[in-house]
């Protein structure tokens, strides 16, 4: 009950911010439309709708990180968290309350992106549904990253770090906007040592019906997710005790 009340509050705070809706839903859709228009004029295999949409879905999750980091950082700044720390709420109520609302938001964001992609020529198949389900474990990584950033940085720093730096890192290192093998070298190695490109490749595999192709990419994503979530929880607990 306590956790659900807090989760309900977080959902309302996130969805009532028009900027969240504009960036979280609007930006990925605009990118999808723009790159599809480029593809229509200058055909590039990378921007074919079936190849592009999984990448845009994963890119959209970087805004989920921004949402989760912003709400925690703002709560810390406003002393609302201090007030709630004096109530019988437990650490698990806070962590789940911040995490759970973002899962359906991530799924909705992904579903809307695929719906737009269908209008742009994506072939309708049951794989789309599986791809939307697969976005849930992938979004766990991005939510964990948000919890960690929100527990470390101020709300202003979160805007710069998650809003600018992370969205760009997700874009460049995910293989969505350009083929990583074309850059090669250390850049490619770094990209494959991070989880973003693995998230995109797992989504692409599912959309193509290659369910075995999810692995090992999903392990990379979940591995990073578990490490980041553990770090976020430990940091949150430390702040709560302090």
């Amino acid at each position: 009950m306590k956790m659900l009340t807090f989760a309900n509050r977080c959902t309302k705070e996130i969805l009532r911010d028009p900027l969240n809706l504009a960036f979280g839903l609007g930006f990925p859709i605009v990118l999808l439309l723009l790159l599809t228009a480029i593809q229509a004029n200058v055909p590039v295999p990378l921007f074919e709708i079936a190849h592009l949409t999984p990448g845009v879905c994963v890119f959209g999750l970087s805004f989920i990180t921004l949402f989760s980091a912003t709400i925690i950082a703002k709560d810390r700044k406003s002393t609302l968290l201090q007030r709630l720390y004096t109530t019988p709420m437990r650490a698990s109520d806070f962590i789940l309350g911040y995490t759970l609302p973002l899962l359906p938001i991530a799924a909705a964001q992904c579903a809307i992106t695929y719906a737009v992609a269908l209008f742009l020529g994506l072939h309708l198949s049951v794989n789309i549904l599986v791809a939307i389900v697969l976005i849930l474990p992938i979004s766990f990584l991005f939510i964990a990253l948000g919890l960690l950033c929100g527990s470390i940085f101020t709300d202003k720093q979160v805007g710069g770090i998650c809003g600018a730096l992370l969205t760009n890192l997700t874009a460049w290192l995910s293989g969505t906007w350009f083929d990583l093998t074309l850059v090669g070298g250390i850049f490619e190695k770094v990209a494959y040592a991070l989880p973003f490109v693995h998230a995109v490749e797992a989504e692409r595999a599912v959309l193509n019906g290659d369910f075995g192709g999810i692995f090992p990419h999903l392990w990379w994503v979940l591995g990073y997710g578990v490490v980041l979530m553990t770090a976020a929880i430990l940091l949150f607990l430390r702040q709560m005790k302090r």
Partner: protein, 242 residues
């Protein structure tokens, strides 16, 4: 009966002693004001009593329960209205009240009933459906205290409740606090002499983390040899400096 019993409570931050071996009792239904200049240790004392900060030494017992070893039980009987107005800005006043009711594990029916009760007690009818972040400072502070009271606390901590309010808003809030006297044990911190004198059953004057004197406003005036409370405060603090 002593509702709060503070025994040699201390808090040190590295080289700074914020609260130095504070011993004090507060009787049931009493309103005690902690009075002092900046850095006196008032807010740190409230933070320790509300289980937000662990004491470095000593202990305090709220209705016989230790803040060090029985924090979960203590949290069920207290409520805090922090110095900065701790509200969820994106929620309406009604939703803010429901959030705190939920944080104490109230059922939906009880939360609804208590929300209506707080609405009537604090005359919040006109702002119940407005977003808390859009309310004036006076309304936000009144809502903040209503949020503290919705959990039916036995002990209420008000940290500088009228800080930054205009004269009328302050007067309204004083009336609200007076109406609570006798029903709830209240510990209030303030900088304002007239507030402490007007509202308190007893006043405790602190300086540099230490308790200088505790008594009724009349007892403090008598001890300082003056009939003005502000003069009594200044003499008490300055004499200690000598």
């Amino acid at each position: 009966m002593d509702t709060i019993r503070i025994e040699s409570l201390s808090k040190k931050y590295k080289d700074v002693t914020a609260v130095d071996s504070l011993s004090l009792t507060v009787r049931e239904g009493e309103l005690l004001s902690l009075l002092g200049v900046n850095g006196a240790g008032k807010t740190t004392t409230i933070k320790m009593l509300s289980c937000l900060t662990k004491p470095t030494a000593g202990d305090a017992f709220l209705h016989g329960k230790s803040i060090c070893t029985e924090a979960d039980t203590v949290k069920k009987m207290i409520a805090v209205s922090p110095q900065e107005t701790a509200i969820a800005p994106g929620l309406t006043a009604k939703e803010n009240l429901a959030l705190i009711a939920g944080a104490y594990g109230f059922s939906k029916e009880k939360a609804r009933a208590k929300t209506e009760e707080m609405c009537a007690l604090f005359d919040l009818g006109s702002i119940m459906d407005k977003k808390a972040g859009k309310l004036s400072g006076g309304w936000q502070r009144r809502l903040s205290i209503a949020m503290a009271l919705i959990s039916e606390p036995k002990i209420l901590f008000l940290d500088e409740p009228t800080l930054g309010l205009d004269v009328l808003a302050r007067s309204d809030l004083w009336d609200t606090i007076r109406a609570l006297k006798g029903r709830v044990t209240i510990v209030l911190t303030t900088h304002y002499m007239e507030e402490a004198e007007s509202l308190s059953d007893r006043v405790a004057i602190m300086k540099d983390g230490r308790l200088l004197i505790a008594g009724t406003p009349d007892e403090i005036k008598t001890a300082a040899g003056t009939d003005k409370f502000e003069t009594a405060f200044i003499r008490t603090v300055k004499e200690e400096q000598k």
